[in-house]
Symmetry: C2
Subunit: 347 residues, 2 copies
């Protein structure tokens, strides 16, 4: 490909290379006249700045990188249960990047890797992004966040509160679990089961606390036999549902900490002679497409993934222009979407 | 971040910069001894080659770019009906790239854009990828492919036959529609409806031909009143289903050219007093997660998206090392997954 370089543009416009760079990169403090001349030359020559050339013009790379857990992502792709976390992340972040002339990459790194820090540093060295979006469980890895902040890497932590360590963009998981549990209590349920998420994710503990908050406010005693562990997989949901539904006095409603485990409850219920929602109400977390198409469609907490990713990208792009991201949290609203899986308990 | 450069490594190892570059980029013709010295120096200094440094060492960028249609991709993300095309593409291509030390990006470009060529050239100029994966409908745009081949851009056309113009990695859509239609004929159906896909996609015409092939082989006369147009959207599927089910003698089975339109048939059927599969059999194309969770789960042609993307990436990576991609087609097997939406017609 014949390459039109920044030098050709500068020559055509009769300005310095540095001026072309400033115009192309949208930097301030270029006169209207110079800007016009450069833009005409760019147009005439069909000049497109390469990533390398844009970087030459300043310290920016015009690229953001999101770090996702390798195992979870591949599991989701392989299981084909409609988990669209990556899609919603891309939807939010890519379109925000696009609107600012940025590019968005995402990298899969195993959160349980022994040499996680080295891998992340390798990614930063190779790509030199203007900012890094950490997604769960990376976003809650405080050692990782501290390492990045020490290296002055602009970071946004998605899906978890920052707690003063960097910037968090998240929803209030505790409040969401509280609201979901209150919905069940309002329907008349008194024995409400809970399937916990993986301990690898901070949201799991927040959701458990919200569940307990609601029981306490509703005057219901905590019964630990109604709580079962899970790890966000369908299989763990099946096992947890079987444990809970085998109790002498089983729950009349179950709050599952994510969609796959809630779908598993739908599958397990008939084995215990239970229909949903007639004998058993089910609420899930995340609102992925799979549960909108299940039978019955599941009542669910909607996690604003696309909005969180969009905000994270916006903050990092602003920071690359205007200086460090302010270390404060951004809490985005969740939704409780009531569908066909919740009803009053059988009389 | 303090930066260890390729020069530090060369100095530490007592070799030329060019030698470090060859080792780091996995080029052949480096003696075992030199390779060991370089690798020890890399390890000791914690050197990570930047994309820019790797490129300096040769003409490769170690990056592939997939080009996707902007409108379709965003529609899929927004509709939340579980279309996981992007996921499966990433699953196949990212993991293949990863295993070869490559990075994978994808870009959204509106296939209907007036200045499509210019946009694509801009992406190539900015990213300078080692190869480009074209996905439908870009992959069937012959003018675009020709422009890329003229510029010596290594290209793989995904989801369509190459027909001698570049390399195609695809499944046999015509044979797949033939097999799906034969499945319905074997069940005893004689009035088989067909909902076509968008004319923007070459696969749509191939699927229609396969449907007609099967009718001819089954000795069934073509009845154009059993064919309805669609554009792959849920809404177009609803309209097509309504058209077909309003006929005086409606079909007892419908082959829809993708999953969203087949889901729409499930939604439309009850409005015409029809149950699936009792009164109406339905087969769809693509096998996205949504249709595995629908009621009933849909019999479907599985499109090997992940495998196609993986093969496309593999071909481009090999070409970046060994020279041009051989201009031949790679046809990957489809599957007919029989689920609960097909049955013999009511007596």
């Amino acid at each position: 490909m014949t390459k039109v370089t920044i030098r050709h543009v500068a020559e055509e416009a009769g300005v310095a290379v540095k001026t072309v760079s400033r115009v192309v990169n949208g930097e301030p403090n270029v006169t209207r006249d110079l800007r016009d001349r450069v833009e005409r030359a760019v147009e005439k020559l069909g000049y497109v700045p390469s990533m390398a050339a844009r970087r030459m013009g300043g310290s920016r790379s015009y690229m953001l990188v999101a770090l996702n857990d390798r195992r979870n992502t591949i599991n989701n792709w392989q299981s084909g249960r409609g988990n669209d976390w990556i899609d919603q992340m891309l939807h939010g972040a890519m379109l925000m990047c696009e609107s600012h002339g940025y590019r968005m990459l995402f990298e899969l790194v195993d959160a349980a890797s022994q040499d996680l820090d080295r891998r992340v540093v390798a990614i930063l060295s190779a790509l030199q992004p203007d900012g890094l979006i950490l997604t769960p469980p990376h976003s809650q890895n405080e050692a990782l966040v501290q390492m990045l902040l020490r290296r002055n890497v602009p970071v946004v932590r998605m899906g978890v509160p920052g707690h003063g360590l960097g910037v968090g963009v998240h929803m209030d998981d505790r409040a969401a679990a509280f609201e979901a549990t209150c919905h069940l209590i309002d329907l008349g349920h008194r024995r409400i089961g809970f399937i916990a998420g993986s301990e690898r994710f901070a949201a799991s503990e927040a959701r458990r606390r919200g569940y307990l908050d609601a029981l306490a406010q509703g005057g219901l005693a905590r019964d630990e036999s109604l709580e079962a562990p899970g790890d966000f997989t369908f299989e763990s949901g099946l096992e947890a549902a079987s444990t809970l539904l085998s109790r002498d006095t089983p729950p009349t409603a179950i709050l599952a900490s994510n969609d796959e485990m809630a779908l598993a409850v739908l599958h397990a219920a008939p084995r215990f002679g239970k229909t949903v929602p007639g004998d058993l109400s089910v609420i899930s977390f995340d609102d992925t497409p799979g549960i909108r198409l299940s039978v019955p469609a599941l009542t669910s907490i909607r996690q604003p993934i696309s909005e969180m990713a969009s905000r994270a990208a916006e903050l990092l792009i602003a920071a690359s222009r205007d200086g460090p991201v302010e270390a404060k949290d951004h809490i985005l609203p969740f939704g409780l979407i009531v569908r066909g899986s919740t009803a009053p308990p059988a009389a």
